[in-house]
């Protein structure tokens, strides 16, 4: 069953590149509404690939993926945009646009929706203060530190109040103290109703929130620990 309770459901999903072996095999799991999970596994296990499948930037070679009650194979290209607007994503390499200020980068998801700048100005400024970038709103990414870039990328993902947040190694470039602060930020967001998936191989980070569900990828297969 895939009702309102689940945002994402994978059923026997497999993925191979070209004619090679499957890099992901028989993935079957679901991400419930308002849930919190860590996606973990060794480097190269396929965590980012799994996230790209959820984002529909990759198509599975077999199996069924359901996103927000829609079978992804039946989603038209124009509808993908609407679905992506319900998902916030934090990339491992941040993917901030270097020619835009921190403010403009964070406001980008609202701008592409065609909203007037004055309608979100206060909201973006407030979020930037909340993630500790209140003094950096006019700064360009090349002069931000790794941690600042990370927080800007997180703010960009949060600004649309997504129903699902995918964060790929969000603490990979920050010191342990900042990592804890960022995790608290995700927990706060989870409390406000967003489902969170954090891809990480930082065991210390996972231990700080051990009530979270763990999805462990290894050798192309997924093991779920509730």
């Amino acid at each position: 069953m895939c009702g309102d309770a689940f945002l994402v459901r994978f059923e026997n999903v497999g993925l191979r590149y070209g004619s090679g072996d499957e890099v992901l095999t028989d993935l079957s799991f679901a991400i419930a509404r308002n849930s919190f999970q860590f996606l973990t596994g060794p480097s190269g296990a396929g965590k980012t690939t799994l996230m790209r499948l959820i984002l529909m930037s990759l198509k599975p070679t077999r199996g069924l993926i359901t996103l927000f009650d829609r079978d992804t194979t039946t989603i038209a290209k124009d509808e993908i945009t609407a679905i992506r607007r319900r998902i916030g994503v934090v990339f491992q390499d941040f993917r901030l646009l270097d020619h835009l200020t921190t403010y403009e980068n964070v406001a980008l998801p609202l701008f592409v929706q065609g909203r007037e700048e004055r309608s979100y100005r206060a909201e973006v400024t407030e979020l930037l203060k909340w993630v500790g970038l209140g003094q950096k709103i006019g700064a360009y990414p090349p002069i931000l530190s790794g941690g600042e870039k990370q927080r800007a990328a997180i703010a960009r993902a949060l600004i649309v109040r997504p129903e699902l947040l995918l964060a790929d190694e969000p603490t990979g470039n920050v010191d342990p103290s900042l990592a804890r602060r960022l995790l608290r930020l995700f927990v706060e967001l989870h409390k406000s109703g967003t489902s969170i998936v954090i891809a990480t191989h930082d065991l210390g980070l996972m231990d700080q929130f051990d009530s979270a569900r763990r999805l462990v990828l290894g050798e192309g297969r997924l093991h779920v620990y509730d």
Binding site: T81, R84, R95, L97, E117
Partner: protein
């Protein structure tokens, strides 16, 4: 109105829109140059076609209001006497403004480029000419004129310049068609240049396009962003090209007006008129330049949208 908020670092500016495709790049500057050159060629072609068409209209109008009567020398008749009679008789016909007998000196001057100066026309079978100016070239006036001429001198031939005007119209028509073909070639070349530049810009902005997709931008939105970017480049290039063309036409007009005092200038002016495009000509240049800029934006949008749909 664009204005920066004082006292704050650059967060946003009132009235300014976010620019997602970086504005300045070497490729962008090269494309502005290409568009400027193409616009210059297109507007120069368009302006020249207008000049030729206007000059042809002037020639046709002048030729249609003028007639030449040739009285060939025939033994037993006094051609010059017949000419005088014809010139006098035609003055009374309604619709004829003036009829004037060309003197021997004037005829000699007309033949000077071919025969040299100081030729005694009395020894040559040169026809006597009567030049007639018409108020209106109505058929009744022409019939009356021809009847009257025939009555006075059977050796007189009326040339109403119709054949010459038709040839002139055919020639200018052909020139305008050639100009349109050149314009078409310029537009095609520019379209291809823009398509290649757009693909290059897309390849260079792959990361930006990818991020825009992930933050929820539609293909239409991304295509519009590229269109806006290329429209800016197009406007800049078209402005340079159009302005250069306007300067060329103004300069040519000024130079021909200065040179019209000497014989070479007179001949150029007789052939092309005064190189004066007039308001409608300059408006046409503005229209062509604006069209080039719009075309730049439109083509880039189409190319981007098609590429995005193909990539899927």
């Amino acid at each position: 109105m664009i204005m920066w908020i004082k006292g704050l670092p650059r967060i946003f500016s009132v009235g300014e829109r976010l620019t997602l495709i970086p504005a300045d790049s070497t490729a962008g500057r090269a494309l502005v140059t290409v568009i400027a050159i193409m616009t210059f060629l297109a507007t120069l072609t368009g302006g020249s076609a207008i000049l030729v068409r206007e000059a042809s209209r002037d020639w046709s109008a002048t030729a249609a209001r003028e007639m030449t009567i040739q009285i060939k020398p025939v033994s037993g008749r006094n051609a010059e006497g017949d000419g005088k009679k014809i010139a006098q008789a035609l003055q009374d016909i309604p619709g004829i403004e003036d009829a004037r007998l060309f003197s021997r000196e004037e005829s000699a001057r007309l033949l000077e480029p071919w025969l040299g100066s100081g030729v005694d026309l009395g020894e040559l079978p040169v026809p006597t000419l009567v030049v007639v100016k018409l108020q209106s070239a109505s058929p009744s006036t022409l019939t009356t004129l021809k009847d009257r001429v025939r009555q006075i001198s059977p050796a007189a031939v009326v040339d109403d310049h119709r054949g010459w005007v038709q040839r002139l119209e055919r020639m200018t028509g052909a020139l305008v068609i050639v100009a349109l073909m050149v314009l078409g070639l310029v537009l095609t070349a520019m379209g291809l240049a823009i398509a290649f530049a757009t693909r290059g810009a897309m390849a260079g902005s792959r990361e930006i396009v990818s991020v825009l997709h992930f933050v929820g931008a539609s293909d239409h939105f991304i295509a519009r962003e590229f269109q806006r970017h290329f429209l800016r480049l197009g406007l800049r290039g078209a402005a340079f090209g159009g302005l250069a063309s306007i300067i060329i036409f103004l300069l040519s007009g000024w130079l021909t007006s200065r040179w019209s005092a000497d014989p070479a200038g007179e001949q150029i002016e007789a052939l092309f008129g005064q190189f004066n495009l007039g308001g409608s000509g300059f408006l046409t240049i503005g229209f062509i330049a604006a069209m080039m800029a719009m075309l730049t934006g439109h083509i880039s949008r189409k190319v981007v949208y098609r590429q995005l749909r193909r990539v899927g």
